[in-house]
Amino acid sequence: MKPNRMTSPCKLTLSEWDGRYAELVRAGLREPDYGGPLSRHVVSEGDLRLRRLRFDDSPAALRLWNFLLTENQRLRQARARGDKIVGAMKDLGTVPVMAYSLPGVRAFYPDGAWWTPCLMECSDGLLQQAEALGIDASFCPVRAMLAAFQNGEHFPRPDLLICSAGAVCDDFSAIAQRLEQTGFPIVWWEMPRRRLPEAGETALALPGNLSAPPIQVACVREELARLANVLGELAGRPLDAPALAGGIREANKVRRLLAALRRTVYGAPGAPLPALEMLIAEMLAIHFCSDREESVAVLADLLAEAESRLRQGRFAVPETAVRIFWVNPVADLRAMNLLEDWGGRICGSDYMFTHALEPIPEDLPPLEALARTALADPMAGSTLARAARLVADCRATRAEAVVVARIPGASHCAREGALIRQVVRRELGLPTLELEIPPVCDALLPMLGSRLQALIETGRQRRVKRVK
């Protein structure tokens, strides 16, 4: 299929992308060394799910997907070059900023293995292997990580594992503890449950219009200082304030690009880029997909594409689509395609790491700045604080409905969905829906379809009423 470049951008199937790729190559496409046709990942990595997804047709999206899908290979190459590999766990955006401040150190989130069963349509057997290790289906799909550590077939074994504890998801914490018991030592650090300052306490500003008392900021700062020592030992050179300040500046380049991309795409009348590519792009914030400099280039391409499409009024999702604010990441990437197929579009998101999207303050001592940013983690604070931010974001993005994606087995999902929906309905009167999406959702398509379509239809009817 040849997309008409003068009309709307197309979403292509994997096989259609092969044709598009050949066309781009003939036209002189220049790619980074991890580039190539997308379909090769099905053969070489067993990423069977790609056959069911539909992708944006731009070279920028091609680069994004290749960047994502070659992460494990790139990590192995880095290891072969002598780089040290840090497995950061759970904090989603803090430890990698520190690790990448040191030359020759890379960090990634083994947590990301939670998408492996989806990408490989469970042919990897990771979930079954996790069950054999004592972590059954009552746990979040992140249990795939445990098996991936054991079989060593996905990411390389990190030289150092660092995991936050305290105000974190129980399922993740329990799985990480099990991991340690099976022979993978972990450096644990404390993340207190963020609270509001009380009478007599100073309120320290955190990114995201949040605040915390000095004692909590000090404790996190001290914990990060401890981690800095550990990372410095690994790197063979100290992680001092100037080095960390440099790392924060570089991380902020990524965050600012992402902020611009989100503004451009979510704020546009139609969606210049599809929801699926935006979800992947947002994920780059947390550990730069194991290559900080390249993630800047990938995001810059996407932003340029989105701005170009916006200028030309060419949208991947039409203006008529109902604007959906999406909460929590989906275990099956296909759900993002389906939302758009059924008449919705993403206008805003909280994929559990909004703190990683906020620029880290550069006018504070670096550890202090990072501690404040870490404390802004939506999962470390109260559900009500998360809901309050969500309400503000829904207002800013003119959301017409809210979807809370329930992660199967995740401890926070048992209660948070109901609380968030209650606040959203009270404050905004928007229709809301809570959906559980397993790693491969095909069997649930009729149910997902009817529920999402009902939500979208409700959003559309409210739009009509407002016009009348």
Binding site: Q181, R195, E198, I215, T383
Partner: protein
């Protein structure tokens, strides 16, 4: 005012010293389990706490951060009535100065909360007297652990968490040919003590109650007079110490009859025991902010000592790493000859459920995983599983 607390790692001594009545939920007769109105995955214990908070509008409830379910249970009630609920941030790590500072700061914050409820910040002397009392009570309960029948022992510990008293049965139960077991896992409140009877009827005998508010919540700390970090007691504190000495001299009988924690009517709660000790030493309203620097220093030292003591003795599954739990269990499983483990895990409690295989691997003993659910209808199934487990151990 009654103040319910939901984790044994919230220092009840601290609440008592503020002149309020700490009540561990495990003994509350209306702490009941009902089907959760929410979607699947809500832990029955956390839901029961939320329900208790709704049912007891005149009481306050202290939640803790040690698990996601309780933490978010607090979120569910926090917006309803200001000032009646408190979320105590229990550090998950325990090896660092940060953990101690966090714990200390939570004690200070709890103090302000308690003062807001009508309590009074304690003097160092009053606090010390309460600490001494609780220390003695824990030691007495610990001494009784090896010989006390499981059902009565569970009740005795719950009673201690309820009002600070020690009430032990006069005689130990018959040992017979029953199979020694360790009961490990989450909370086992009064409504679920039936489990202990079921285990016994099936031919088992719980020789180690390592549920949340079981023997794990007890420790034999050094008496305050031997601790370097505690301020010296005044006469009133010494009085409390004298009472302790008298009680402990009788404790040669391992299982003494219901001994109140102080002279007075049997079952009198411990508030009376320390009231004399603290009567002259209560801080002015407004908490520590109005106190003299000298008094503050004594209080702070006590609070720091209390935080250290709790951090030093906290043995729980949520800690990272939770190696202390395994060390604690290993010592007692061996000493008591437990032949099998029964893991009591709430549906939705990832923290305990994830330990099942690690417990099997660590101790090499058979393990039965039992689901603690919200309704009693599961007892026939639980009974059947227990009987099969014990049959395999015979």
């Amino acid at each position: 005012m009654r103040l319910f607390y939901t984790s044994p790692w919230v220092p009840a001594e601290w609440i008592r010293a503020h002149g309020l009545e700490p009540r561990g939920v495990w003994y509350a007769d209306d702490f009941a389990f009902e089907p959760a109105p929410l979607s699947a995955g809500v832990c029955a214990f956390a839901q029961a706490v939320v329900r208790l908070a709704d049912l007891r509008p005149q009481s306050a409830v202290i939640f803790t951060t040690h698990c996601d379910q309780l933490r978010r249970g607090f979120d569910a009630v926090a917006g309803t009535v200001p000032g009646r609920f408190f979320l105590f941030n229990l550090p998950a790590t325990w090896q660092t100065p940060v953990a101690e500072r966090l714990f200390c700061s939570e004690l200070e914050r709890l103090s302000h909360f308690l003062v807001g409820l009508g309590g009074q910040a304690p003097s160092a002397e009053r606090l010390q007297a309460v600490l001494d009392h609780y220390g003695r009570a824990r030691r007495r309960l610990l001494q009784a652990a090896p010989a006390c029948p499981a059902r009565q022992y569970a009740e005795a510990i719950a009673r201690f968490h309820w009002d600070g008293s020690v009430c032990l049965p006069e005689h130990s139960g018959p040992v017979g040919a029953s199979i020694p077991l360790a009961l490990v896992g989450g909370p086992l409140p009064r409504a679920q003590w039936r489990l202990l009877e079921v285990l016994e009827r099936a031919g088992g005998r719980v020789v180690l109650n390592a549920t949340e508010a079981g023997e794990r919540s007890l420790w034999a700390a050094e008496p305050a007079r031997d601790r370097g970090d505690a301020p010296a007691s005044d006469g009133a504190g010494a009085q409390a110490g004298h009472i302790a000495g008298a009680s402990e001299s009788e404790a040669g009988r391992a299982l003494a009859c219901c001994v109140p924690p102080h002279p007075g009517p049997a079952h009198e709660p411990c508030s009376a025991a320390v009231s004399a000790a603290g009567s002259g030493g209560v801080s002015p309203p407004g908490g520590t902010r109005g106190k003299t620097p000298r008094a503050l220093a004594g209080e702070d030292a006590c609070a720091t000592g209390l935080a250290r003591e709790y951090l030093a003795h906290c043995v729980d599954v949520f800690q990272r790493p939770n190696t202390r739990l395994y060390a604690w269990l290993r010592e007692r499983l061996d000493a008591r000859g437990a032949r099998g483990l029964v893991l009591w895990a709430y549906v939705g409690c990832d923290l305990w459920r994830a330990e099942a295989q690690s417990l099997r691997e660590a101790f090499g003993r058979p393990l039965l995983l039992l689901d603690a659910e919200e309704v009693a209808s599961g007892w026939p199934r639980i009974t059947g599983r227990i009987e099969a487990f014990l049959e395999a151990l015979r």
